[in-house]
């Protein structure tokens, strides 16, 4: 259980704020340090949760790990490949899913599964076998030829999840996986994550929901203002009360009451 599968080392990301953004956020600063020297490790076969409030830098961190944006400083190794030096390799080793990534409504799950399989360079025969297996395992087979735009939200979520693992990645990265979903669809997602863990996958997720962490995560890193405020097993960090511990940390760092 102790093989490091994700290792972030001093990740840093600073954004230049546009005039519009400065106005929205009521700040005169032209720069915003979203992630500030973040280091952590996630191990094979576990679910690692990045817990943090809005604007803590969760999305930014996960996007750096998914190689969509480049860190200003620091690096991370995913299954031994550097996100800075070898982004294409990293992309084939991870499955990345966020609510911002959408599937084209015109196509069918079956078509998209094949398409994204090809995008990851999965051989055709392997792809067919995987499709059969995953579609029946997650109950998509009956909807395989229905246009995505006609699927129910729950089914769509399942399809997105299945497509994110089309290339059988070692590591799965999910940004706020249950955000904006009703309880039923959220359960589809949490069941899926548990199932994936059972399949031996390593999962990195971000959330601001305490119960999700308590329910799913083996280890957790608390992210506040782009820095890791605490890290460890769920028990170590929560000390019996995750919410309480979080607010204690928050007060010590921000020095203010919520």
């Amino acid at each position: 259980m102790n093989e490091e599968i994700v290792r972030a080392d001093g990740l840093k990301k600073t954004f230049t704020l546009s005039k519009k953004q400065q106005k929205i956020e009521r700040t005169g600063d032209t720069r915003r340090v979203a992630v500030n020297g973040l280091s952590f490790s996630a191990y094979r076969g576990e679910i690692y949760g990045l817990l943090g409030p809005n604007g803590a830098g969760k999305t930014t961190t996960l996007r750096m790990l998914a190689t969509l944006i480049r860190p200003d400083a620091g690096d991370a190794l995913i299954c031994g490949s550097s996100i800075v030096r070898d982004p294409a390799k990293v992309r084939d080793k991870i499955g990345f899913l966020t609510s911002e990534l959408k599937l084209e409504g015109f196509f069918t799950p079956s078509y998209l599964f094949n398409f994204f399989g090809e995008m990851h360079g999965v051989p055709k025969d392997v792809l067919e076998v995987r499709k059969q297996e995953l579609f029946s395992r997650f109950g998509i087979d009956k909807f395989a030829e229905v246009q995505v735009k006609n699927l129910s939200t729950g089914m769509l979520q399942k399809v997105s999840l299945v497509i994110s693992i089309v290339h059988d990645p070692e590591v799965l990265i999910f940004d706020e996986p249950t955000n904006g979903l009703d309880v039923l669809t959220a359960k589809v997602v949490t069941d899926f994550l548990t199932e994936l863990k059972g399949m031996g996958k390593s999962i990195l997720l971000s959330t601001h929901i305490f119960s999700l962490v308590e329910k799913l995560c083996d280890r957790v890193g608390v992210l506040i203002d782009g820095r890791l405020a605490a890290e460890g097993n769920l028990e170590e960090v929560a000390r019996g009360d995750l919410e309480g511990s979080f607010f204690d940390l928050y007060h010590t760092i921000k020095g203010e009451t919520v």
């Binding site: 969509l68 480049r70 992309r91 084209e104 015109f106 196509f107 994204f116």
Partner: protein, 369 residues
């Protein structure tokens, strides 16, 4: 191959959507309808068969072919013997004869300098139709001789105007064909977040760019082709000639026109793709695109009415196509101009694809706030 899969996806999307296909084919039908109607209006008695009288000087076996063609078209043709060129031309100008045809001495021997001159009256419908049919027959005769056309008098104004605005119309239709598919496919996908889903995979950014520009260009070319056919089929009507596909233009003119028209869609698709990639929403992208369309229409309009722009115009995208098309419509066969224009357009397209690749790789553009 990843690029092939990207290209297949765009085609799949297009060919399974009847609405998109109709949008693409509509311009050609519209041009055809428009020009047919205008042809009817300009040449009110277009469908009537004339009784032609024409002067003939010199002789050639081609005359029998001409006779046969007129008979086939249901018109009567009477050859008048011409005493001398001067009087015959004067008769043509007065409208007493449709035309004067002068075959050179050695015409049927295809010797050096074999040629045939046709004198006809520009603003006389019957005369013009006569000229158009005879030159079509002689072109099909296909032997190495020169046809010297000698229009007498002023050209019919209506036709001049229609011919001047034709390139403008073509640009306009091609632009809208490119616009409808590209905005939807590039700006639409970016706005809906389906483009980023592709960027998460290990596919190269250059392939993503090509995977858009290549298929969308092909699809837009289909639209351009439809417009081209619309023009080709209405040209004879516009010339007041109710027979034949080629009208009075030769095959070479049509080939060059075709090549020119095909070189424009990739350029415009790439241009709109770049602006679509830059934009956050389809609304923003269509604002940019409308501005581009207005610019290229103004450019084409200016080119339509300013004769002899000079060779620099061949390096300006869109303008080069308009200027060269103009030359073709005026009866020229601008071979090297066509190839320079095409080359320039291909070069610009390549540069734009490169630019799009850079934009797709930019995190500020693709994942900025």
């Amino acid at each position: 191959m990843k690029l092939a899969a990207l290209i297949r996806k765009e085609f799949h999307r297009f060919f399974h959507d009847p609405r998109l296909i109709v949008t693409m084919l509509l311009p050609g039908l519209l041009i055809f309808a428009l020009y047919s109607i205008l042809g009817e209006v300009i040449y009110t008695d277009e469908q009537e068969t004339y009784e032609y009288k024409a002067y003939l000087m010199g002789s050639s076996e081609a005359v029998t072919l001409i006779d046969a063609a007129f008979e086939g078209a249901g018109s009567d043709l009477e050859w008048l013997p011409a005493e001398d060129e001067e009087t015959a031309r004067a008769e043509v100008e007065k409208g007493n004869a449709a035309a004067l045809i002068v075959f050179s001495e050695n015409f049927d021997a295809y010797g050096e300098g074999a040629n045939v001159a046709i004198y006809y009256k520009m603003d006389d419908d019957a005369s013009y139709q006569f000229y158009a049919l005879v030159s079509a027959v002689l072109t099909e005769y296909g032997m190495p001789f020169a046809i010297v056309s000698n229009p007498i008098g002023e050209e019919n104004l209506g036709m001049t105007v229609m011919r001047s605005v034709l390139p403008l119309l073509l640009v306009c239709f091609i632009f809208s064909a490119c616009m409808s598919v590209t905005l939807e496919s590039v700006a639409g996908e970016k706005e809906r977040g389906t483009l980023s889903t592709v960027l998460v995979t290990s596919v190269k950014r250059s392939h993503v760019a090509l995977g858009k520009v290549v298929p969308l260009s092909c699809i837009s070319m289909l639209g351009a082709l439809s417009s081209f056919l619309g023009v080709a089929f209405s040209m004879p009507k516009l010339m007041g000639v109710s027979f034949g596909f080629l009208g009075s233009y030769g095959f070479a003119s049509y080939a060059l026109m075709f090549l020119l028209i095909l070189s424009v869609p990739p350029l415009i698709v790439a241009l709109i793709s770049v602006f679509s990639t830059l934009s956050r929403s389809m609304k923003e992208a269509s604002a940019y695109t409308s501005a581009l369309m207005i610019v290229s229409m103004v450019v084409s309009l200016i080119a339509s009415f300013v004769p002899a722009m000079g060779n620099w115009a061949l390096c300006v995208p869109v303008l080069n196509a308009v200027v060269t098309l103009q030359t073709i419509l005026d009866g020229g066969v601008p071979v090297w101009q066509t190839f320079v224009s095409m080359g320039a357009n291909v070069l610009y397209t390549a540069l734009l694809v490169y630019l799009m690749t850079r934009l797709l790789s930019s995190e500020r553009i693709m994942f900025g706030k």
